[in-house]
């Protein structure tokens, strides 16, 4: 068996929040457990979804995979490379698209993408051609390519962010809510493109989203996390089946999400 695209073992991450207390010198340190004991494995060419309520640790997980955060404990291997010890080998294989489309706002999309292409050591002429192709494919108009990013709508900026992620042809693509803020057509464009690069580039994709339909449509398997723990992991069909069996009627992925993460909410309500 070949090494999996992604292998996560017992990964935990805690953030320390410094609460400035009213009284001087009495800084309270509050711990936020973002992830606790996450283990999972994603095989090559899989589209793997991570769902969970706000603040459940999805983005933290993606940052750990993209070497932007270091785990407190546990190990992460990407195509057999340890994220901490073989940082550069990992960096060459991955790219990430996140919700916040962060760019040099006075630069044009082409300038921003050229910066990214150079950072990844791509020959620039080839990269320029590819940028145009991807942006056109995502439905951006040619005339927006050269005007400053700050003049674009949020959704358009998000598409440039998606283009930046695809540009370097990563073998593992980390998508953190890539379609948030996109209209239904654009969402479909991005979704079709995700499938396409899986076929064409044999890429593996890890995706977080709050769009249940999108997850259902795209993902081969889905992990649902809540408060930093995986509470379910199965194919979309498997997840739906398990919930509908309990309720005796056909369940959508949204039902699954609410059923699995909602119980906790009720418990929390009762605690209060």
């Amino acid at each position: 068996m070949s090494t999996p695209a992604l292998e996560i073992k017992q990964v935990s991450k805690v953030f320390i929040k410094k609460e400035r207390a009213k009284r001087f010198l009495n800084k309270k340190k509050e711990k936020v457990v973002a992830l606790s004991g996450i283990s999972m494995s994603v095989s090559r060419r899989e589209i793997f979804g991570v769902l969970g309520p706000n603040g459940s640790g999805k983005s933290t997980l993606i940052r750990l995979l993209s070497t932007l955060l270091l785990p407190d404990s546990g190990t992460i291997h990407i195509f057999g490379h340890d994220v901490e010890k073989e940082e550069f080998a990992v960096k060459r294989l991955i790219n990430r698209v996140s919700v916040d489309a962060a760019f040099f706002k006075k630069f044009s999309p082409l300038e921003n993408l050229a910066y990214a292409a150079r950072l990844y050591g791509m020959p620039i002429r080839q990269a320029r051609e590819k940028m145009r192709k991807i942006m056109l494919r995502l439905g951006l108009k040619e005339e927006t390519f050269t005007s400053p990013m700050e003049n674009m709508s949020r959704g358009m900026q998000q598409k440039v962010a998606v283009a930046r992620g695809f540009l370097t042809s990563p073998t593992l693509l980390l998508l953190d809510e890539p379609t948030t803020g996109l209209d239904p057509y654009s969402k479909r464009d991005v979704q079709a493109f995700v499938r396409e690069i899986r076929e064409a580039h044999r890429a593996t994709i890890l995706l977080t989203t709050h769009d249940m339909e999108e997850a259902d449509r795209l993902c081969d398997r889905i992990a649902i996390i809540d408060e930093g723990k995986i509470i379910a992991l199965d194919t979309p069909q498997g997840l739906k089946r398990s919930v509908s069996r309990r309720n005796g009627q056909d369940a959508t992925l949204e039902d699954v999400f609410i059923e699995l993460t909602g119980k906790k909410m009720e418990e929390k309500e009762q605690d209060k």
């Binding site: 953030f15 932007l68 270091l70 550069f88 916040d100 962060a102 150079r118 950072l119 020959p123 620039i124």
Partner: protein
């Protein structure tokens, strides 16, 4: 070869930043220019201030050398220390830190840009300020001065790296802290007066600033025509010390980057 291509990313980025924020650039250039002029006029007015006959020409050149060298060195310092600050402001820091680029390559690109930019900017200021005064550089050793300036750049690159750490540690205030650091260097390095004027304890501190040696040597070259051969030992020390500061700077940077990744300080939002 590939590394150079990657390093060019930072050069091109900085050129684009200048193009896009040209208004800001013009304001800053005017600020430096007026600053240099004002300082040099102190020399021009010294006879009137003291009511004594002085070698005004010498004073003017003395101050002009100080202000120009300082302008050059501080551009190097700021350009390098801002390599992180810009990415913070724009929010692109996570993307740059995620790319397969070593901090050394990052630095090479930033440094090449800083030196070329610093030289061009200083030349512009020199040409304009020189047109206000009649300068006498007849006996000056210009090649020696250039050599000294380049050797001095090395240590300022190193200091810039150390300062670049601040925005990594303090997302909000980091960039302002570098201003304070630059101001201290200005005070102790004998830019506008001989360091011997300072209190004894500050003189001790001043001997640790590379700018002290650069400026002293520059005055030797430009005012007294000091020979290049006699400068070689200073040049050597500047390069050696500069290389050491760069090494230490990169080491500190690496540690702080790791710390930032442990505590989640690279993140802005999302």
């Amino acid at each position: 070869m590939k590394e150079m291509r990657v390093a060019y990313a930072f050069i091109e980025r900085n050129i684009n930043l200048i193009k896009r924020y040209w208004g800001w650039e013009v304001v800053w250039l005017i600020y430096s220019l007026v600053n240099s002029l004002a300082v040099t006029y102190i020399g021009a007015g010294m006879e009137k201030i003291t009511g004594q006959t002085l070698d005004t020409q010498y004073l003017i050149t003395y101050l002009l050398v100080g202000t120009l060298i300082w302008s050059y060195l501080s551009v190097i310092f700021y350009s390098i220390s801002e390599m992180i600050a810009w990415e913070r402001w724009e929010g692109t820091i996570e993307y740059t830190f995620m790319a397969p680029v070593s901090r050394a390559t990052h630095l090479v690109g930033t440094t090449l840009f800083a030196i070329i930019y610093g030289i061009l900017r200083t030349l512009v200021i020199l040409i304009i300020v020189a047109s206000f005064f009649n300068l006498d550089l007849a006996g000056a050793n210009l090649p020696g001065a250039v050599l000294l300036l380049l050797a001095g750049s090395v240590s300022f690159v190193g200091l810039g790296i150390v300062a670049a750490v601040l925005p990594l540690l303090y997302p909000e205030r980091g960039a302002q802290m570098t201003n304070a650091a630059a101001a201290i260097l200005l005070l102790i390095s004998g830019v506008y007066y001989p360091v011997e004027t300072l209190p004894a304890w500050l003189q001790v501190v001043s001997s640790a600033s590379p700018a002290t040696y650069v400026i002293k040597g520059m005055r030797g070259c430009l005012l007294h025509g000091q020979s290049t051969r006699s400068l070689l030992s200073i040049v050597f020390i500047l390069i050696a010390a500069g290389t050491a500061v760069i090494m230490v700077g990169l080491f500190i940077f690496g540690r702080v980057e790791r710390y930032a990744k442990r505590t989640g300080r690279l993140k802005r939002s999302g």
